[in-house]
């Protein structure tokens, strides 16, 4: 049997199994991305996230000793109140009823926005795409403003989030309707339709603010985002929603890789170009919609985190998605912790993410322009 296998149509049976192919630079790594295996990277991110949650829980107006946090969690989760013996009575309530819902919802929203942004960038083939590209944030803002101005309390505390969510979904439907033609969905059409609809809606929001009188402060405060007074039901709802959406995005992560080859190549490699991009767009938008409804508009997480993580994991979405979920959670949780525990006065979180994220994005952008990797 010959060792030399000619041609590209390699016959499986004659393929030498032990021959070592001369593959120049075989041990060379592509930049930073393969320095650690994917598993190790994810494990590290998960550890950082867990540590951030615990550290953040201890921080705040009432300082809870770090060592008490795991005990309180264990006491509640295992149903053994004797574990909290010896600490101040207020601690379990502060940790479990006040801080954890806020902390977990910040983490979940951060992860959700980051995976949604990664998906948008992959589907629209545009590095500047983010979860709000299709006007989801404008729709949510319009819905929320409407509920506030009309003073709608039909559904109690949930009226504003529900109106925000409905606004986001209706906007998404309108944008997809405007952008679709006989050839399916093109990314340019989607981006343009998103911009047009968002422009109309922001005019509507301006009008609502104008007629809102003293309610205008409530609208402005909502628009800038906050995790204050989140409850366990908010946590449960967003967790379910983000988990379902994340599952779909990860399931189609490999198809998302193929989309970057262009639609004809992707289709010839088995991607259903009529169904898959639309399904992914709707999924990513719905993740963004529920995040916005819960927390208001928080910018830059969905834009920044995928860029940072692509430097770490490479562009393969099967690695990128989990990294974005964890890193988005870490980043937004730190931002919220700074606001809640470190600053003398609480400021809206959307303002902080934009203030820090904007310049940071400029830096990454500049570095990529000058051909350097990393951040």
């Amino acid at each position: 049997m010959t060792d030399v296998v000619e041609g590209f149509f390699v016959d499986v049976r004659v393929l030498p199994t032990r021959q070592k192919y001369a593959f120049p630079g075989e041990t060379l790594q592509t930049g930073f991305r393969n320095a650690l295996s994917t598993g190790v990277q994810m494990a590290l991110l998960a550890v950082v996230l867990a540590a951030t949650v615990i550290a953040s829980t201890a921080m705040g107006y009432i300082q809870v000793p770090l060592s008490d946090v795991p005990r309180i969690l264990a006491a509640r989760l295992l149903g053994r109140p004797e574990l909290t013996a010896g600490m101040r009575q207020i601690f379990p309530a502060v940790v479990f009823d006040v801080r954890l819902p806020r902390i977990l919802s910040a983490a979940i929203v951060g992860g959700g926005l980051a995976v949604s942004g990664a998906a948008f960038q992959g589907i629209l083939l545009n590095p500047l795409a983010d979860p709000y590209t299709l006007g989801v944030s404008a729709g949510a803002a319009f819905g929320a403003s409407l509920a506030i101005v009309l003073n709608i309390h039909l559904l109690g505390l949930h009226s504003v989030p529900l109106f925000a969510f409905s606004g986001a979904v209706l906007t998404l439907l309108l944008v997809v309707f405007l952008a679709s033609d006989a050839e399916g969905l093109s990314s340019n059409n989607l981006i343009l339709a998103g911009i047009i609809v968002a422009a109309i809606l922001s005019a509507g929001i301006s009008f609502l603010k104008y007629v809102a009188d003293e309610q205008v402060a409530v609208i402005i405060f909502w628009l800038m985002g906050s995790f204050g007074s989140k409850t366990w039901s908010d946590v449960g709802l967003t967790a379910l929603w983000v988990a379902a959406g994340y599952g779909i995005l990860v399931f189609y992560a490999r198809d998302l890789n193929l989309l970057s080859l262009g639609s004809r190549a992707a289709s010839s490699l088995g991607v259903n170009m009529r169904r898959t991009p639309l399904l992914l767009l709707v999924t990513a938008s719905l993740i963004a919609a529920v995040c916005v409804s819960i927390s208001g508009i928080i910018g830059f997480v969905g834009l920044l985190v995928p860029h940072m993580m692509r430097n770490l994991t490479g562009p393969d979405n099967r690695r990128l998605m989990p990294a974005c979920l964890l890193a988005g959670a870490i980043l937004l949780l730190w931002a919220d912790t700074v606001i809640r525990a470190l600053l003398p006065h609480e400021i809206p979180i959307g303002v902080l993410t934009a203030l820090i994220g904007g310049p940071f994005f400029c830096l990454i952008f500049r570095r990529q322009q000058s051909g350097r990797r990393g951040f």
Partner: protein, 271 residues
Amino acid sequence: MGFSLAHVDFAYQKRPVFNDLSLVMEPGRFYGLIGPNGCGKTTLLDLLCGLRQPDRGSIRFRGRDLRAFSKKELARQVALVPQDFFINFPFSAEEVVMMGRYPRLPRFAAPSAFDRKFVKRIMSDTDTVNFHDRMVTALSGGERQRVVFARALAQDTPVLVLDEATSNLDIAHSLALLDLAARGVYDAGKTVIASFQDINLAAAFCSHLVLMQPGRIVAQGPTDKILTAERIERVFGVAAKVYFDAYANARQVVFKAPRHKIQEAEPSKEY
């Protein structure tokens, strides 16, 4: 049985491209599509790949209606090297070639040792091995086109469709890649269907030619029979001479000297 198109109509929105088009393509042949710009070469290739559906008529592949194939099945039968080879994200060249193996791999599976070996083999055949770990976004146009070509070869399908797949390559790489494709046809009985701008390149490699004019097929058959001066003149509207060239071992076309050729008196230099 390869492809058979029967009475196919196709239109983009209201602009008709094909009207009652019929064509049979047998396996084990190297087909070349030639014709002027906008005559529907790419559209025909899209129809064969199942990327577009005919408005009327039927396309059968291996005796089955093409629409009866699932996307995944088709991805294991037909590989395409598209005209457009832009890649949007900084995948490494090797990752892109490995994407050709996706249709054979379960969704979350890592490539097997065999897949890796296969990809390496193809990358050395296509002369892309030197930059296997470079980002495709940092490659030159010709290098990236070779990576895309290698990706389609990695799909290892019975049918390979090339849409002007060597448009950006230098002559050495054009010959080498088309030779790889031809070797698959003559050694393994595969089918290659390729569109060309360069008639002589087509004549050198294709066993059969399909000569097209906007919306219709003018002639098709063995290259030696199809390639004549009067057909070239009819289809492209340029005066040409066709002859058998022993050095190229193929029929070749030369075109009448342009009317306004600038004659330089300077002697040529060799560096």
